[in-house]
Amino acid sequence: MSILKVSKLVKRFGGLLATDDVSLTVEEGEIHALIGPNGAGKSTLINQLCGELRPDAGRILLGGRDITALSVPARVDLGLGRTFQVTSLLDDATCRENIAMAVQAREGLNFRIWDAVAGRARLWDQADAMLAGTPLAARSGTPVNDLSHGERKQLELLVALARKPRILLLDEPMAGLGHVESQEMIERLREIGAQTPMLLVEHDMEAVFALATRISVLVYGRIIASGSVAEIRENADVREAYLGAEDELC
């Protein structure tokens, strides 16, 4: 059974078809990359999968369960994890607190008004345990405001993982990273991908070709091609779509 199954999804903005009859699946153990030129409707699609936007038609199944009508938090509770294109974290809080919040959400301690010091300390220990061994280990007590862009990208990934998702939707995890940081991120994603299936929306073709087990190409809201890395490299329509816009398919 597919962990994520999207069938015949449609979203219109006025006269514009932003999502045009999109169907795709993410299987267990798979890193399914979604590529496409700017304005192809990738963010619109991600936002519908996460629940921030309601589709006009079509269905989204998570582990066989229909989540099309569920709210963002309800989908997260069922195991849908995500990262944002522009990182979205608790900026005044430290790395440790950001991760602790995810751990807390997972454990469901959220309406406790009486667990002041002891309860929090336990969560912080768990957060530090997650940070240990990552490049952020030394930054545990640093507020997000003082982190570099690359560090925020890493933290966001950790926060998503702390929620122990069944599937991860990654919205351009490489965006804005330098070359070395990108290489590290690719390694991290490869490790994570061995445990957790992913839908990877990405512009960085090097990363996509290095990571993806399957690639779908979205152009003007439609999936024009889907297949293995080799198949997509050879696909004439894909070259057309990219070369027509810009030579991004290196």
Binding site: S71, E97, R112
Partner: protein, 321 residues
């Protein structure tokens, strides 16, 4: 250092009635009592405003509801029951919990509706509900209407002589201390962490699986109960409850106390309430146009400082280190 400071503050608060009596300044004791009560109200507003980011412009509604709970229960004490089946009471152990429950119910209803909006609409809809309650009590002629309701005697508690201003001060001080201890635990609890997270980034919290509405509503109810407690104490202190207690300018005063003290600072509301009432008392004694000076001071604080008195103290504290 902090503990020493806390002990010093506690000692000062306990010694205060004896000092004012020795100095022959009973008015100061009454000022201090009002500061304690307003500090509770302002801290409850700060809980949703400073920690939760909800700018409620109708917080005085719950203050008034708490006060009227005490007043109406007193009016029915020893006479016929309210609605035919709710007996009145003069016992603080009954009236205070009753005020908490009733103001909590009002907050649940108003919050459930208001929190469906956001931004300026939230500010205005909370104001609207407070205005509705204000006019409701204005038209409530059986309980004094516009003139309010007189409570002939302060509620009884453990056979203490509640007429004595010093005794009443200590009772209110004890309740305030308990309130701030509880509030400290709540602010630093798992729930408090969620609330602070929602203020910083609602989208992020939703992506972690928190449905913001529920948490905001919960906080709104807790804050309403805090204001209700303060109102009930104020009714006992003034032996009076009136619609003016929930006038929109009273909500404005609570906000001023919060910002004077420092938004989102735990002890800020205490400083803010003290600063506001002290300014009001002394400026009013000095000139009848005291509001001009108050307005100017408020303007300077809002435009010129970040963090209010608590922020200033923190800076001084940092500079000394």
């Amino acid at each position: 250092m902090r503990i020493a400071f806390a002990l010093l503050a506690a000692a000062a608060l306990i010694a205060l009635p004896f000092v004012t009596e020795a100095a022959g300044q009973p008015a100061l004791l009454s000022l201090a009592t009002r500061v304690l009560i307003y500090a509770i109200a302002a801290a409850s507003l700060n809980f949703i405003l400073g920690y939760g980011g909800m700018i409620s412009f109708g917080h005085a509604a719950f203050f008034g509801v708490g006060a009227y709970t005490v007043g109406i229960l007193f009016a029915h004490a020893g006479s016929e029951p309210l609605f035919g089946f709710i007996p009145g009471s003069k016992q603080m152990l009954i009236t205070l919990p009753a005020a908490l429950v009733i103001s909590g119910l009002f907050a649940a209803l108003i919050g459930a509706l208001s929190l469906r909006t956001g931004g300026v609409q939230f500010i205005m809809i909370t104001l609207a509900f407070a205005q509705m309650l204000f006019f409701f009590f204005v038209s409530l002629t059986p309980y004094g209407g516009e003139d309010g309701i007189i409570i002939r005697r302060t509620n009884d508690l453990f056979g203490l002589n509640m007429r004595d201003k010093t005794t009443l001060y200590f009772v209110i001080l004890a309740i305030a201390a308990l309130f701030f201890a509880l509030l400290w635990r709540v602010v630093n609890s798992s729930f408090g962490a969620v609330l602070k997270g929602i203020r910083q980034n609602e989208r992020r919290m939703a992506a972690l699986g928190f449905a913001p509405y529920r948490y905001k509503l919960y906080a709104f109810v807790l804050a309403g109960m805090g204001a209700g407690l303060a109102g009930a104490l104020m009714a006992n202190f003034l032996r009076f409850a009136s619609p003016d207690m929930m006038h929109w300018t009273k909500s404005g005063e609570f906000m001023i106390m919060v910002i004077l003290g420092g938004v989102g600072s735990f002890f800020g509301p205490i400083f803010g309430a003290a600063a506001f009432l002290t300014l009001e008392t002394f400026l009013a004694g000095w000139t009848e146009h005291w509001q001009l000076a108050m307005g100017a001071i408020l303007l300077v604080v809002v435009l010129g400082t970040k963090g209010g008195i608590a922020g200033l103290l923190a800076k001084l504290w940092g500079a000394r280190k």
